[in-house]
Subunit: 279 residues, 2 copies
Amino acid sequence: VIAPPRSGSLVVTIDTIVEGVDFDLASTRAASVGHKALACNLSDIAAMGCRPVAATISVAAPPRVTQEVLRRVFRGMSRLADRFGVDLVGGDYSASPRDFVISVALYGETAGLRPLRRSGARVGDAILVTGALGGSILGRHLRFTPRVEEGLLLNRHYRIRSMIDVSDGLSIDLHRLSRASGVGAVIDADRIPISGAARRLARTTGRTALEHALGDGEDFELLFTAAPREAERIVGDGRLRVPVSIIGRVTRRGCLLRDDAGRERPLAPAGWEHELRAD
Amino acid sequence: VIAPPRSGSLVVTIDTIVEGVDFDLASTRAASVGHKALACNLSDIAAMGCRPVAATISVAAPPRVTQEVLRRVFRGMSRLADRFGVDLVGGDYSASPRDFVISVALYGETAGLRPLRRSGARVGDAILVTGALGGSILGRHLRFTPRVEEGLLLNRHYRIRSMIDVSDGLSIDLHRLSRASGVGAVIDADRIPISGAARRLARTTGRTALEHALGDGEDFELLFTAAPREAERIVGDGRLRVPVSIIGRVTRRGCLLRDDAGRERPLAPAGWEHELRAD
């Protein structure tokens, strides 16, 4: 039983992480697995500009996952929950034959604000992103801080038109935002914030750091749009504890990448894709 | 984004079903799998005497599970949701290496009522159960109707002191209710409603029909307590579309089974147990 929202509506999300897909228990601290399971849900609520409140957890674990491992998973989850004032209110444990699967359902409240959606972008909006992108696989995907405070701050103080979190890759999540809003986008290659990890990764993969920033995913940064003048104010806001970059502009149709020379080419929706294509 | 409860608090639950543990795709219609995934959550909300409102679904599926199978799973879930006025508001799809795992998180509202808990049983209460128990594995575990209407009716019209749903077996769930309430229980063997399926099963398993009724689990009936006079009124309530039986009485301590001859023996908490023992 949880208290109803103090004001406004309720937001809900669910996300699952699976061993062998989202983490590897052999090479990952169990506490980090718990952190990630909750953090990717917190990122979803952050991208709505809402406040997370309570979570329920469901674990399906095979016999090889010991109680001690599960305790550590819970500890990682619990630490992150405390940090954001989220109550872990209940859950369910089930045996599984082989795979280790953790589902978290997270409830939030709109906190007197309008929940942000993917669908509000308007032609002429600036496109912004928090933090730096790419190379998350080198470690950040297990340790990232979900942008809960930033999402709330942006929603409270600015007219954010649309927002999504970068979970599967900048290019694919930009496509999603564009499709949901019925618009297009042009982003500038030289304005995309490329992480140090993306540059390090590029040395060994044969792909460019830009490609990693566009397609790696699991950045869990916020990708959003606002009117150009609003965007300038956001970039200059000292209260935001993470850098924000203007990377492009909303257009009528098509998702394009503009290179240093000003040439535009279609932006392929590259990135991690395990969505079910319904048709 | 979902509307907040019209009155009172919010109740939340999460439950997961796993292929090879809770269902077998080779011998089960996919729609029944979807039905079960949602129905066991509805049963949890029913046991709180609350009204289910909205659900989020998370699926982790290996490559062998086709889109057509997933569509049928969803259809089974969707049909049941419609029947109880539940919105399927969102979800998440993830690839898994080998196991097929479905998690459903369900949100409900207290509907102006007090949510029922396992912890309110008082010494002297009658112990009641809906329906008939045992042998669910012969088919009912995939087809059962969660006792949502009964839970609401009981909570609205009677002083129900404590309630739980029989998910893992009458004896184990009675132990849980007793432990949560800090009381004991005596149930009468000859008053336990034994299903036809339990009797059929007993012909081949070498166990008695009573043993099946006590330990099989997945009955998803309501097990609850009320003052004796209240219990008599409930049994006679023509609005309940399922039979209700008084099977015993709440005592100070210990869970006992009384046989036909009046002899009492300890009731072992037999049943399906895949709870994590925390210590």
